[in-house]
């Protein structure tokens, strides 16, 4: 059994008063699993439906459709059981502005019956020196670390971290990443959301890319990069792509004026054929990129292709 199971989840928000648009579909048939011992990242731009998905798993929000299970339990009807086994970090806030760091950690430890010691949590999250500082006097990054400490107070089996490194400085980021890694290595299931590709690539074992409420790709970061292998080059605009495609035995298209993409793995043979063909036609080569793309390339491609497809669909429907 996966620690977290999401199957065809649909979340809608009621229409706001005065808004003629009707209800908004925030999550539109999302499915994925997250396993114990793994860090799973829900990656997507703002408004992709990441927080809505996590809030259903946390029991804060009702699903309109689909089915979710956390540790095999229903997050809404079995909330009282799950709260003891799950740790939550909200995207922001959640702490009394006037409370001191140690006081907050001790309070949350008391809520879980003293399963963890406040001083240990402060040390793990690098907050020992700030123990007597008031929440409102902490920097954004320190506040995030305190929220993370509070999420760990119950020594949870499953952790939901909503944008855990947003606004965190570089050293804080390293600390959070190491902590998240240790938690997964210790057998916890960690589900985090992020819009930061770099973060997802560095910390996650499994990435689920969401956009406009749908999963557009998922896999480990390595697989996702490999799935997008292709050759890109720049040259004069208007090259005969059909002839080039025939010569290379792979589809070629002009992505934007003078920017070409060959949909094939960048093997030396194929690169040689490409440069030879260009030389034969006396065409200059301005730029050539072959090899593994970053997750960013995958992400930008997937999220823009999706939006191009939806707007094309919309145009077709409106005709």
């Amino acid at each position: 059994m996966a620690a977290i199971e999401v199957d065809e989840l649909v979340v809608r928000y009621p229409a706001r008063r005065g808004d003629p648009g009707g209800p908004t579909t925030a999550v539109d048939g999302v499915s994925f699993e997250a396993h114990a011992g793994h860090v799973t990242a829900l990656l997507g731009p703002n408004g992709a439906g990441k927080t809505s998905t996590v809030e259903v798993l946390e029991g804060y929000r009702h699903a309109v459709g689909g089915r979710v299970r956390v540790l095999g339990l229903d997050p809404v009807t079995e909330h009282h059981v799950l709260v003891r086994r799950v740790g939550v970090m909200l995207q922001g806030g959640g702490v009394y502005p006037g409370i001191r760091v140690r006081e907050a950690v001790a309070l949350f430890c008391a809520h879980y019956g003293g399963r963890t010691r406040p001083d240990d949590l402060l040390e793990r999250t690098g907050l020992t020196e700030l123990a007597h500082r008031t929440y409102r006097h902490l920097s954004g990054g320190e506040q995030q670390r305190l929220s993370l400490a509070l999420a760990l107070a119950g020594d949870p089996e499953v952790l939901f971290l909503d944008e855990p490194t947003a606004g965190v400085d570089v050293s804080g980021r390293l600390l959070v990443r190491r902590l998240v890694r240790d938690l997964a290595d210790g057998g916890r299931a960690v589900l985090l959301t992020t819009h930061d590709l770099d973060e997802a690539e560095k910390v996650a074992d499994h990435v689920v890319i969401v956009d406009r409420g749908r999963v557009v790709a998922s896999g480990d970061p390595h697989e996702l990069r490999a799935s997008g292998d292709r050759i890109r080059f720049a040259g004069p605009s208007g090259i005969d792509v059909a002839a080039l495609a025939a010569a290379l035995g792979a589809p070629v298209h002009e992505a934007s004026s003078g920017e070409y993409v060959v949909e094939a793995a960048p093997e030396p043979q194929r690169l040689a054929a490409l440069t030879a063909w260009l030389a034969q036609h006396d065409l200059p080569l301005a730029d050539l990129r072959a090899g593994r793309q970053s997750l960013e390339d995958v992400f930008v491609r997937l999220t823009t292709e999706e939006s191009a497809a939806t707007s094309a669909g919309r145009r077709r429907r409106s005709r």
Binding site: Y60, R84, V95, Y96, P97, L107, F108, Y112, L150, A153
Partner: protein, 241 residues
């Protein structure tokens, strides 16, 4: 330490740490008591103004803690998502409400411990036999005012809630027979003021601590109605985040 007592301790500590809540719960009641208790300028209708003022100020103390203090704090906790975050812990809503009740009672006990000796110092001598009734009225008043404060806290945004609580406080203070008798008001206003929870509580505490056998049935009915209706409305309309 149990979850509820840890929560209640934090609630009390945070209340006592906030300057504006100390001003409200202790500063204003002490100031009203001392100034108008010593300077006989209000039309209290009693030989010694403190005999009228001290019970009124005790009612005011209950209102400031149970309605304004609790309501403002809870409203901000709602907008800072503290209530939402606590919802993901094993504490649970009934225990959170329980902790808040406990913290209100602790602050009220502190207020009594400060206000009653000051009133004695300026010459107040209520009959000892009246205290059980006075405390019963204050307990009922706590429920009513907490219901009103939480109703506002549960639906209004942080700053709007802050303004609404303070506005209500002022109206309930001025038209509550706390610093001057309702009889001083024009007749229509006096009639309207008689259904306010503040006037009912002030009236009950005052008669209990003057002549305990003659407390008004009307005032008990008014206060009890508020104590039933306000928490029900709060529970039905409260939004946790």
């Amino acid at each position: 330490m149990s979850a509820v007592s840890a929560q209640a301790r934090v609630e009390v500590a945070l209340t006592l740490r906030r300057g504006e809540s100390l001003l409200l719960t202790l500063g204003i009641p002490v100031l009203l008591l001392v100034v108008f208790g010593l300077v006989d300028v209000l039309p209290t209708g009693t030989d010694d103004p403190v005999d009228f003022l001290a019970p009124g100020v005790l009612a005011l103390a209950v209102m400031s803690t149970a309605m304004v203090g609790l309501g403002i704090a809870t409203g901000f906790e709602r907008s800072y998502l503290v209530l939402k975050r606590l919802g993901a812990t094993p504490l649970g809503r009934p225990a959170l409400v329980g902790a808040k009740i406990a913290s209100v009672l602790v602050v009220e006990a502190l207020q009594l411990a400060v206000l009653v000796p000051i009133a004695y110092l300026i010459g107040w001598r209520p009959p000892l036999a009246g205290w059980p009734l006075a405390i019963a009225a204050m307990a009922l008043g706590t429920v009513a005012f907490a219901g009103i404060g939480l109703t506002m806290a549960g639906v209004l945004r942080g700053e709007v809630n802050l303004a609404a609580q303070n506005g209500c406080y002022l109206v309930l203070l001025l038209f509550g027979g706390i610093v001057f008798p309702l009889a001083e008001l024009p007749a229509p206003l006096e009639a309207a003021a008689k259904v306010l929870p503040s006037s009912a509580l002030a009236e009950l505490v005052r008669t209990a601590l003057t002549d305990p056998v003659s407390t008004s049935g009307w005032a008990w009915a008014v206060l009890a109605a508020w104590a039933v209706a306000a928490p029900l409305v709060a529970a039905r309309t409260f939004r946790w985040w």
